[in-house]
Homo-oligomer: 530 residues x 2
């Protein structure tokens, strides 16, 4: 939908802070009318669906005692530093315009940890629905954007082991099933088990994070490629990589994998792995109480890229999460054809639709030392982040959705019928009636024309989707009467019910009640697949 | 609330995209834990009040047939260029990291015009609630921020003269009164009248915009200062400035000022001024039909800084909008004391709480030429923008508000009472009950402890503000029974009603109904001053 346009010379001047003195000067400078790469406008029915997703998740978060916060879209650059591992290169920086150095937030987790530390909060359950920014390769139709929404729920505070973690699993499952998504699984792993595996396989302490990053690529690349990265780029001996390869193949139900790991004496001799297995054992009890264990696949290949995780990690995936089978081929082809890689949708999957984990050290990174030089203890945290654009791209595929959704929610279209001598179109009269309806909380519209014929007004009413028309007749209105007509019944020829103006609000309210018209409710039901 | 902290060496390394290998290294680098200048975190009850403002305005916009859109937080830099006059220097730019040059949006109007042009939209009523960014001197307690929300409603399309403009006045009045703000007035003027005044006073065509900028400062500075700017900085002869001075003093009710202007033969001989007066005359008819004329003060000193307005302009102000009487003195003192000018709250007012106008040329600036080299006609637009932070700072002053508001909205606190031998705290049992309540849509919480004594649980329930407790007794629960207890009645010693587990949902729902508990409804009523 982009098009070339010419901008005016004063425009270019004003960009440098120089005021312009005439709007009419012309220049030949051309630029494309578009949004920045990896971003898009949201409008119309898409917007309604997305708002319904927000509303659904907000109710869910609130029902678990969540309170909401809002942090600035940019943070001091130091706040974000050292939190994202290799992905730090994807952070958007703001220009140094003489002031603080700032960057757009990369997720909602680090700003949350900063908020908890800054305000000395001991415990909180907070949710936050907001945009985050990553200078990644976009794949727009798959919902992989540079600007995208995250819906996060996090629990901060010292509690009994794995209690909030299990509740997060409950929220994850309710969130997805509540949006009508049922064919998902939750891959789950534990950073301490993973660290233990690397240790018993012979990875040096200082190499653990980078080997973890390599394992993180297993959802996109085959083992052979990951092994190559470990050995060639990351300097591991082949036998170390092969040993890791055996472990990361392990996956299955929680009880199955726990059984397997517990009976591995080498692994159980490792303190970190042992602690991780104990925690997952406790958690398994709780997710069984919540009856959400069946969604969980305990998967040793899940590593999660971010630096800050310290305990259980998880991500929810669907079949569409994986890249297409011929992804490598398509990617190669795209490269060769040298076409502008605007969009990687062809050769990537949707990715995970929700993800999170435990991060017990992050708040501590922001805490100072007290007067005795002793560092304040960190606040343990665990959370989940829903990727709304990715969920949206799955939900949008339910084709029947779009038909039933209206972008606007007006209920009454006000018309005036007349003609002949002295007919002024009753514009002020329509305004007066509209004003009364608005005051009574009834959504209404009318055509912004002084005089309009009935056909034009009916067409506009149909476009708006209003279920009811209020008609001001040339003779009837001066007698204090209007007609109320239910639209979309096929009986468009009928005149509608003649009503005293003083009864209008009552009659319209009753008719709306009868029609049970509630647009957003419809959408929410549709979302849930009901 | 800021504090100095030390960050770790790996953090600094990772900021350059280098992965870190150890989380424990220390360094001495110090930075302050804060949000960037002019921004703040929102949380707790403030957040509830702000969300209620959004919700109130959203309903209003929808009731006038508005549909919503969402545009990216940054736009291509060329899109913003040449739209904001002298204020262009306040735009935040993103760093050039090898890609497109982009800037944070300065308002929601220019992105809206870009959207309309890009999608070839002929008419739309859209609302948009989102953050905008201005590198201005912040005055935090007055709600003047660098990152702040705007709530915009705009009508694009060719309609009969002044019909949407009058509806915007209706929305402005309903929006403010609906938020319990009643002591406001709407200053209104017309760019074409103002241009006409400048012309008849002898200002040259190319000086009109900069003289308009000078007049725009009349709400903050006395006429003498503005006159000095016109003569000394902007090169106008003194007699020209004096003539302008006579005109910009004119203000009063719509009918009064229309009468005065219409009877000024010099001004009426000017085509631009005449057209403006005709439009305001038409509009006056309509705002009288809406019964909102009494809020409007037709004020020749209102100029509005932005370049893109072409017709009627307006802003809503309250007593707190003006700077304090001793503003100049305080500002001087602040400068002399050389303290870091973090906050200008002491010597500025709240400013306008809502503002807007007609901008018929803006969409056209983004439209291209067709194949015959003919420029596409622009789409006329008119709109209003509510400044939420400023509204918030007014609403927050109603002290009684805060007491009645809860930040969370959970309704049931689940507890377990027991003790003695074999008592395990019923954690899994509490989870099972919570799970049932959540599935029934009932918000609930429980303490994240395996075992907790009754006192701790009651304290937590009180902190959460839940109106109801569900209590699992050591003997009762295994018999399939729990107790349901209404909290906050003063009768904390009573045991509560013994209920079969199978009836729990029904009993809790009935009790909540009886209590008529709906947190958000309360807030909305309070906001409206009811």
């Amino acid at each position: 939908m982009s098009q070339s346009i010419s901008t005016s010379a004063p425009a270019a001047k004003a960009a440098q802070g120089v005021p312009t003195s005439s709007k009419k000067a012309k220049e030949t400078q051309q630029f494309t009318l578009k949004t920045p790469k990896g971003t898009k406008d949201w409008a119309d029915k898409d917007m309604i669906i997305r708002e319904a997703i927000f509303s659904k998740l907000t109710s869910l978060f609130k029902s678990h005692g969540g309170v909401t916060i809002d942090t600035p879209v940019f943070e001091l650059r130091e706040i974000l530093a050292g939190k994202y591992g290799e992905d730090s290169k994807l952070i958007y920086n703001l220009e140094d315009q003489g002031g603080e150095l700032t960057s757009l937030r990369y997720d909602l987790t680090v700003p949350f940890a900063r908020y908890v530390a800054m305000n000395g909060i001991a415990n909180i359950k907070r949710y936050h629905i907001a945009k985050v920014y990553r200078r990644d390769q976009p794949a727009m139709t798959k919902g992989r954007m540079r600007e995208f929404y995250q819906c996060d729920f996090d629990v901060a505070g010292s509690y009994d082991s794995m209690v909030p973690d299990a509740e997060i699993m409950n929220i994850l499952v309710s969130g997805l099933t509540g949006l009508g998504i049922r064919d998902f699984k939750i891959k789950l792993n534990h950073r301490k088990i993973l660290d233990g595996i690397f240790q018993v396989c012979g990875v040096k302490e200082e190499d653990v994070r980078k080997i973890s990053s390599a394992v993180d690529k297993l959802d996109k690349s085959p083992w052979e490629a990951v092994k190559k990265e470990m050995c060639e780029e990351k300097g591991q001996p082949e036998e170390v990589a092969d040993k890791i390869g055996e472990y990361v193949k392990i996956s299955g139900s929680l009880r199955e994998v726990l059984q397997k790991l517990s009976s591995d004496p080498v692994l159980m001799a490792n303190e970190s792995a042992k602690l991780g297995v104990e925690e997952i054992t406790t958690m398994t009890d709780y997710v069984e109480a919540f009856e959400v264990d069946k969604y969980i696949s305990f998967d040793m290949s899940l590593a999660r890229g971010l630096d800050y995780y310290t305990g259980v990690i998880y991500e929810a995936v669907t079949e569409q999460s994986a890249p297409p089978e011929d992804a490598a081929e398509k990617k190669e082809k795209a490269k060769k054809s040298k076409k502008d890689e605007e969009d990687a949708s062809e050769y990537v999957g949707v990715g995970s639709i929700a993800a999170g984990g435990r991060y017990d050290g992050l708040v501590g990174m922001f805490l100072g030392t007290n007067s005795k030089g002793k560092k304040a203890p960190s606040i343990p945290c665990v959370g989940i982040s829903f990727g709304v654009e990715r969920l949206f791209s799955l939900i949008k595929q339910r084709a029947q959705l779009a038909d039933k959704i209206r972008a606007s929610s007006t209920q009454v279209y006000i018309m005036a019928f007349g003609g002949g001598e002295g007919w002024n179109g009753f514009l002020k009269e329509r305004m007066t009636v509209a004003s009364q309806l608005w005051k009574a909380g009834i959504e209404c519209e009318y055509l912004y024309k002084a005089k309009a014929n009935p056909r034009k007004q009916f067409e506009a009413a149909e476009r708006s989707g209003c279920p009811i028309a209020v008609i001001l007749g040339k003779e009837e209105y001066p007698q204090g009467q209007v007609r109320v007509k239910v639209l979309g019944t096929g009986n468009e020829k009928e005149d509608g019910e003649l009503v005293d103006l003083s009864d209008l609000i009552k009659v319209v309210s009753t008719k709306l009640e009868e029609l049970k018209y509630d647009g957003m409710d419809d959408v929410t039901r549709l979302l849930a697949g009901l």
